[in-house]
C-alpha cells in the first residue's frame, strides 16, 4: 500500500515499464519468483489459451492526469492480481473514434454524464445493442427491452422501476466498472463575489442559475473574468461541437432561452415555458411565457419555437438526431404562446432531454443569416466569430477574439433572469500554473472549469483568504468499459472479476489520486440523480482473492508466471 501520493505516482509511473518486463519475463522464465497469491499454477498450458496483452485506452496524462493515473493503477492491479496483461495508454481525442468504432481496445476509460439529469442517455446510448456509442459491443436482449421500455414509460414511478432494473442488469453483467463519482471543483474570488449567492448544480458553478444569481460585492465583481480549459471555438447552437464539447456548450446556454432548464435539484423547471399538458402519451401542449424578448428587442413567440423545431426536423443537424429527429413527428403553433408537439412514440425524457436541450432560435434573425450566408440547408455551418448572435437568453455575445477573449454582456431586459453581474469574460491562459497565478493575483475571479488537481485548488484556497474552493458531486462517473466481444472479456465471470479488483482499488484511487475529492462508484447512474440511482446495484467485492475465485470457478487457469489462460478447450482466436 502506498504511503503517499508522490510514492504512489512513482510506483504507477514505473508500472508501465515493469509490465513489459513482466510480460517478457513470463515468456522466458519459469517465473519461480512470481507471487501468485491464491492463484494455482498449472504446468504446460497451451500457448493458444494464453490471454493476449490488451490495451486500456484513456485520455493523455497531459489532458487529465488524475484519470490517467487511476487507469494506470487499476491496470497494475489487474496484472498483479489476476495475471491479466493490461497496458494503459493515453490517446489523443482525435484518434478516439477510429479505435472505438473498430473495437481496437481491451478496456476504455473516460467520463460519462447525462448532460441534463435524465438517465435515458446513460442507459440507451452506450449499452443497447445498436446504440451509436456502444463501442464496448455489449449486447443483451433483456437489457435492450428494459432500456427501451423505460424510455416509453411516462409514469415516473413505473419508469424508476425500469431504470433500477437496467442498473441491476448492468451491475450483474459488468460491461462497465465504475472507478469513481467525480466532483466538479471550482474556485471563486470571495472578495468580489458573495459566496452565499453561488448556486451549484451537477455542472458545478457553470450553470445558468448561478450566473444570473451571483452577487457582486463591489465594482470589480461586476465583471467576472473566468477561464476555460480550451478556448471556445464555436457558438452556433446547431453545430455538434457547440452542443457537445464542454469548451463550447456554455456559450449557447448563456445566450439562449430554453423551454425548460434542469434546476440545481436535477429536476426540469419551466424556463421560457409557463407549463405543459400531456394530451396523451405522444401529444404535449407547451405554454410559452408572453414576456420573452430577443436581444434586438423583437418578441419571442410560439412562432419562434415552431421555427426552431421545424428547422431541426428539416435540415437534420446531426447533434439533434437523438433528441429531436427520432423523437418528434410534428410541431404545431396553437396560438401566440402555445405549441403542440406530436411524438412518434412515447418518450419519457422529452421535457428534460428535448425541451431542456433545444435552444429557442429567433425566426427573424435566423432566416436572415441563413439567406445571407447561403446556409439554408446547413445552418450549423454558420460561424459566429465575426457575427452578432441574436437570441433571447440572459447574456448577449460580446467581443470575441478567438483564443484570447470571449465576452458576454448581461441582457438587462431579460424578463425573469437578468444577471446581477454586468459582464462575463472568458480569458484563456495556456497552462494550469498560469491560471493558478492569475486567480491568486486577481486577474481571474473564478475558475469555471478546472482540469488540474483538486488538491492544488485546496492548497490555493488555504493559502489565500480571498479564494474559496467550491465542489459539487456531478452526475459524472469515471469508468472503464470492457470490449465485450474480445476474449476473455466476453465472459461475464471475467468482467465480474475485473470489477472486484476495481472495487478493491477504489479507495486508494480516491485518497491518493483524488485527495478524497471523489466518491466510490458502483452504478452508471450517479447518486446525484437521487430519484434514478439504484443504491442496490450489484457490485463485486471481496478483493483479489474473490476475483481469483470467480475466475477459477469459471475454469480459468494460470501458468507458473501467473499469466492468465482461458478455460480448457478454448483458444484466444
Amino acid at each position: 500500500m502506498a504511503t503517499s501520493r508522490r510514492k504512489l505516482l512513482e510506483q504507477i509511473g514505473g508500472a508501465g515499464a515493469s509490465l513489459g518486463v513482466v510480460s517478457l519475463a513470463g515468456c522466458f522464465s519459469g517465473g519461480e519468483d512470481t507471487d501468485l497469491g491464491n492463484r494455482e499454477a498449472t504446468a504446460d498450458l497451451p500457448s493458444e489459451a494464453r490471454v493476449e496483452e490488451m490495451t486500456h485506452y484513456t485520455t493523455t496524462e497531459a489532458y487529465w492526469s488524475e484519470r490517467f493515473h487511476a487507469v494506470q493503477l487499476v491496470d497494475q492491479r489487474l496484472t498483479e492480481h489476476l495475471g491479466l496483461p493490461v497496458e494503459p495508454k493515453g490517446l489523443e481525442l482525435s484518434a478516439w473514434p477510429e479505435y472505438q468504432t473498430e473495437g481496437r481496445f481491451g478496456f476504455w476509460s473516460s467520463n460519462w454524464s447525462s448532460g441534463d439529469g435524465d438517465p435515458d442517455s446513460q442507459l440507451m446510448d452506450t449499452f443497447t445493442t445498436d446504440a451509436g456509442s456502444n463501442y464496448w459491443r455489449y449486447s443483451n436482449e433483456e437489457y435492450d427491452e428494459i432500456a427501451r421500455e423505460q424510455r416509453r414509460a411516462t409514469d415516473p414511478d413505473e419508469r424508476q422501476e425500469l431504470v433500477y432494473e437496467a442498473q441491476r442488469i448492468l451491475g450483474e453483467e459488468r460491461p462497465e466498472s465504475q472507478i469513481v463519482y467525480n466532483y466538479r471543483t471550482h474556485a471563486i474570488n470571495n472578495e468580489r463575489i458573495d459566496e452565499d449567492s453561488v448556486v451549484l448544480n451537477f455542472m458545478g458553478i457553470r450553470n445558468i442559475w448561478n450566473l444570473v444569481s451571483m452577487e457582486p460585492l463591489n465594482d470589480e465583481g461586476r465583471t467576472i473574468v473566468t477561464n476555460n480549459f480550451d478556448p471556445t471555438d464555436s457558438l452556433n447552437p446547431l453545430h455538434q461541437n457547440t452542443v457537445e464539447a464542454l469548451r463550447n456548450v456554455w456559450g449557447v446556454e448563456l445566450t439562449h432561452d430554453y423551454l425548460y432548464q434542469t434546476d440545481p435539484e436535477m429536476n426540469p423547471q419551466p424556463w421560457a415555458a409557463e407549463g405543459h399538458d400531456w394530451v396523451d402519451e405522444t401529444t404535449i401542449d407547451v405554454q410559452l411565457r408572453s414576456d420573452l424578448v430577443a436581444h434586438d428587442g423583437e418578441s419571442i413567440t410560439a412562432e419562434d419555437v415552431v421555427f426552431t423545431f421545424d428547422l431541426i426536423l428539416e435540415t437534420e443537424p446531426p447533434i439533434y438526431t437523438n433528441i429531436v429527429n427520432t423523437v418528434v413527428d410534428t410541431v404545431e403553433q396553437r396560438g401566440d404562446y402555445e405549441v403542440r408537439f406530436v411524438l412518434g412514440e412515447p418518450y419519457a425524457p422529452f421535457i428534460t432531454s428535448t425541451l431542456g436541450r433545444v435552444p429557442i432560435l429567433p425566426k427573424h434573425y435566423w432566416e436572415e443569416i441563413m439567406a445571407d450566408t447561403g446556409n439554408e440547408d446547413t445552418p450549423w455551418e454558420i460561424s459566429f466569430i465575426d457575427r452578432d448572435l441574436v437570441a433571447s437568453g440572459p447574456f448577449i455575445k460580446g467581443r470575441w477574439e478567438q483564443g484570447e477573449r470571449l465576452e458576454f454582456d448581461a441582457f438587462e431586459d431579460h424578463p425573469f433572469a437578468a444577471p446581477n453581474i454586468d459582464k462575463r469574460i472568458e480569458r484563456n491562459l495556456a497552462s494550469r500554473d498560469a491560471e493558478i497565478n492569475a486567480l491568486e493575483s486577481g486577474e481571474y475571479d473564478t475558475f469555471e472549469t478546472w482540469f488540474g488537481s483538486p488538491s492544488d485548488l485546496n492548497e490555493l484556497a488555504e493559502e489565500n483568504e480571498h479564494i474559496s474552493m467550491v465542489k459539487h458531486l456531478t452526475d459524472t462517473r469515471m469508468a472503464m468499459w470492457s470490449q465485450c466481444e474480445r476474449k476473455p472479456l466476453d465472459d461475464v465471470a471475467v468482467r465480474q472479476a475485473v470489477n472486484t479488483v476495481v472495487m478493491a482499488t477504489q479507495q486508494e484511487i480516491i485518497s491518493e489520486i483524488f485527495d478524497d475529492i471523489a466518491d466510490p462508484a458502483y452504478s452508471p447512474i450517479s447518486p446525484s440523480l437521487e430519484f434514478w440511482h439504484n443504491p442496490d446495484t450489484p457490485v463485486f467485492e471481496g478483493g483479489p482473492e474473490a476475483a481469483v475465485e470467480l475466475l477459477t470457478d469459471a475454469g480459468y487457469r494460470w501458468d507458473e508466471s501467473g499469466h492468465l489462460h482461458l478455460p480448457e478447450g478454448e483458444t484466444v482466436n
Binding site: 489523443e92 481525442l93 482525435s94 484518434a95 478516439w96 473514434p97 477510429e98 479505435y99 442517455s121 446510448d125 452506450t126 446504440a131 451509436g132 456509442s133 473574468v225 471555438d233 464555436s234 452556433n236 453545430h239 455538434q240 461541437n241 452542443v243 457537445e244 437534420e316 446531426p318 447533434i319 438526431t321 437523438n322 427520432t326 446547413t378 455551418e381 460561424s383 466569430i385 467581443r399 477574439e401 478567438q402 483564443g403 484570447e404 477573449r405 469574460i425 480569458r427 484563456n428 491562459l429 495556456a430 497552462s431 498560469a434 497565478n437 492569475a438 493575483s441 486577474e443
Partner: protein, 327 residues
Amino acid sequence: MINRKYLARRLALMGVSFFIVVTILFFLFRQVPGGPTAHLVATGVPQDVQERVIESYGLNEPLWKQYVLYITNVFQGDLGHSFYYNRPVIDIIGDRFYNTIILMMTAILLAYTVGTYIGAQLAWIRGSSMERKGMVAVLFFRSMPAFWTGILLLYIFAFQLELFPLGGVRGIDADYSTQLGKFLSVDFLHHLVLPVLSIAIFYVGFPILLMRSNMLEVLTETYIFTARAKGVAERRVMLSHAARNAILPIVTALGIEFGFAIGGQVLIETVFSWPGLGREMVDASLRNDYPLAQGTFILLSAMVISMNFMADLAYTYLDPRVELDQE
C-alpha cells in the same frame, strides 16, 4: 548580379519544391492514427447520420480524388475550411500569423543584431579573459531552453514583481479596431517584452558563435593586414573590413530562421498563452484537422523556400564576388 535565366530556373525549382512539399503534407497527415471524425460527427448518432456528415465533407471520396481537389484548391489560393473551427483556414491563419510574426521577428532581429555585434567583438578580443567569460555566458544562454527561461522570467517579473502581465497579447479591457493599432499600442508591447526576451536569450548564442568563428577566419586574411598597414582605424577595420565579410553566413542563418519563424516557438506560445500559429500547428495536427494543419505547414514551407531565395539574393549585394548565374 542575377540574370533572368537563373531567376527563371530558380523560380521553377521553388515551384517544384513547393509542389512536392504540398503533396507529402497531404498524404502524411492521413497516415496519422485517428481521423477528423471526432470533430465532425456527434457521438451516439446513428450510422447513416454519421455517413451523411462524412460525405458532406468529401471524406468518403477515394484518396486520389481528395488529393486532386486539394491540389487544385491550393494552387487557386483556397486552403479549405477548418473541421475544428468551422471557418476558412485562411481566416484562422490570418489571426494568428501576425501575432507569431511580430513575436518571432522581434526576437530574432534582436538576437541577431546583438549577437552579430557581440560575436565580432569577442573575435576581436580573442584570447582575453573577457572573451573567455563571454564564451561561458554564451554557452550558458544557449543551453537554457527558451521555455524554461520563459517560465523563470514569468515567475520573477510577472508573478513576483508584477511588472508584466501573466500572458496573452492584450489587457482585459484593451480593444483595437485594427491589427496595426494593436501592435503599436503600449499594452501590446508590454505583453511582448517577456516572450521576446525569452526567445532572444536562447537565439542570441548562435549568431555570437557563428560570427565569432567567421571573424577569426577573416582576421587572418591579407586584406585585413593591408587595411591596418594603411592606417585604417581599428574600429573601422573590425566593422567595415572584417565584419562585413564575416557576416555572410549570418545572413543565410537569418534567412532560414525567418523562414522557420512562422512556426513560432510552440512552448513559448504555451508558457505565455500567446495566440500564435505555432500552437495552432500543433493543435491542428493533434486534432487531425487536415485543412488547418496542411494550411499552416504550407505557409511554413512557402516561407522557408522563399526566405532561402531571399538570402541568396542578399549575398550578391553583400559580396560582389558572389554570382548567382553560375553553374
